[in-house]
Amino acid sequence: MPIVQVDNLHKRFGSLEVLKGISLTVERGSVVALLGRSGSGKSTLLRCLNGLETFDSGSAEVAGHKVTAQPAALRELRKDVGIVFQSFNLFPHLSVADNVTLAPRLVHRLDKASAAALAEEMLARVGLSDKLHARPDQLSGGQQQRVAIARSLAMKPKVMLFDEVTSALDPELTAEVLVVMERLAADGMTMLLVTHEMGFARGVATQSVFMLDGRIHEAGPPAEMFAHPGTREFQQFIGQSLK
């Protein structure tokens, strides 16, 4: 059974239709790169999958949870679906460790000792064991983003969503975040990512999806798609991206 199943999803912002019938199937352990120009609807699609955006028609099911607007059902879904944002969105008033363990303590009722152990485990996973007691504003952008990934992983999600997570980072900080994501993919995590990192999409993703004007324009295994673009638009897109 696929872990993500999207059927004929439509969404409009006022008079602007941003998703015009998206259907997508993702198998467990896949790494899906959502590609496309800004405004093509890829971020909106990603945000629909954990209920940060509502949609007008169609259906989506992620990790066995139907996506609805109903708060309690949405919380159940979000226990299994993590998301990392472009702008990190760490909690500035909490230490790195507390950022990581806030949700497990509140949602999974983790006690203090288990929470401390979890914080150490998760931060070790993103290579930031020494930053346990730092505050978010004492970290570089790349470090903040790795903490954000650790914070999401601490909920033990079954699916991870990444919304342009390296777009706000300087090139030299991008690599350290991509390394963490690559390791996560190797560990078998199901990942959907909106990205402009063509190297990552080509090298790590198992499935790439090129979106254009609210529709899936071309999709397939990245090796094939990048070597032999099936459409002029995708060829143009990768031509510009690789320049």
Binding site: N50, L52, R78, K79, F85, N89, F91, A103, R151
Partner: protein, 218 residues
């Protein structure tokens, strides 16, 4: 008989300042509690609560404090509640404070970036948990300077209750002036006492602001 303005009179003024401080504290306490309810209602997801809070803030802010005072002092006694002047004064100042504090705290809550709501919602927190652990702690920092600024106003605005013969600092000044006919020494003393109450407040606000800003990324 005209009295001299002496140490005894000055001490009487100083003593009456306790009512000014008490009124401020009561209005801060009860106005603060009610203001919290107003701010939470205003930022809740319920349309009805939002509109009720908006209406409350607009109404109270549109009425002079003096009229609120007359309503609670004369109005309530006419309606059969014979409240001591100090109680009526506290009630009206609390209502006045609740609308302003509620509005200040609404603004602080709304100025916490939307991304903080999204990040915490995505971690499966309930709305109450989001408020308690993510939004309110950040809103508190934002709200310190305007809150203290309002409290300074409140200290000075307690002077209007002198009208219903609560002998707080301003009323005490009037009484001493009537007895001594020495307006300059009397009211300069009164002004100095108000200043001595307000200045530390303003100063602590600036101190806290600096302290919070120092913890912010540049």
């Amino acid at each position: 008989m005209i009295r001299d303005y002496s140490l005894a009179e000055a001490l009487f003024l100083l003593d009456s300042a306790k009512w000014t401080i008490l009124l401020t504290l009561l209005a801060t306490l009860f106005g603060g509690l009610l203001g919290m309810v107003v701010a939470l209602a205003r930022t809740s997801t319920s349309r009805l609560l939002q509109q009720a809070a908006t209406g409350y803030i607009a109404t109270i802010q549109g009425i002079p404090v003096l009229i609120l005072l007359f309503l609670s002092y004369f109005g309530l006694s006419r309606a059969g509640f014979n409240l001591p002047a100090i109680v009526a004064a506290s009630v009206s100042l609390s209502i006045y404070a609740s609308a302003y504090l509620g509005d200040i705290w609404r603004g602080a809550i709304q100025s916490v970036p939307i991304q903080q709501w999204e990040a915490s919602a995505s971690l499966a927190l309930t709305r109450a948990q989001q408020f308690r652990t993510v939004i309110i702690p950040q809103a508190v920092r934002i709200s310190v300077p305007p809150t203290v600024g309002f409290l300074v106003q409140l200290v000075k605005n307690t002077s209007i209750v002198s009208i219903v013969s609560v002998v707080e600092l301003t009323r005490a000044g009037q009484l001493i002036n009537n007895a001594t006919f020495q307006p300059f020494p009397v009211f300069i003393t009164v002004a100095a006492i108000y200043f001595a109450i307000c200045f530390p407040l303003s100063w602590s606000s600036r101190y806290l602001e600096r302290k919070f800003n120092a913890n912010r990324p540049g």
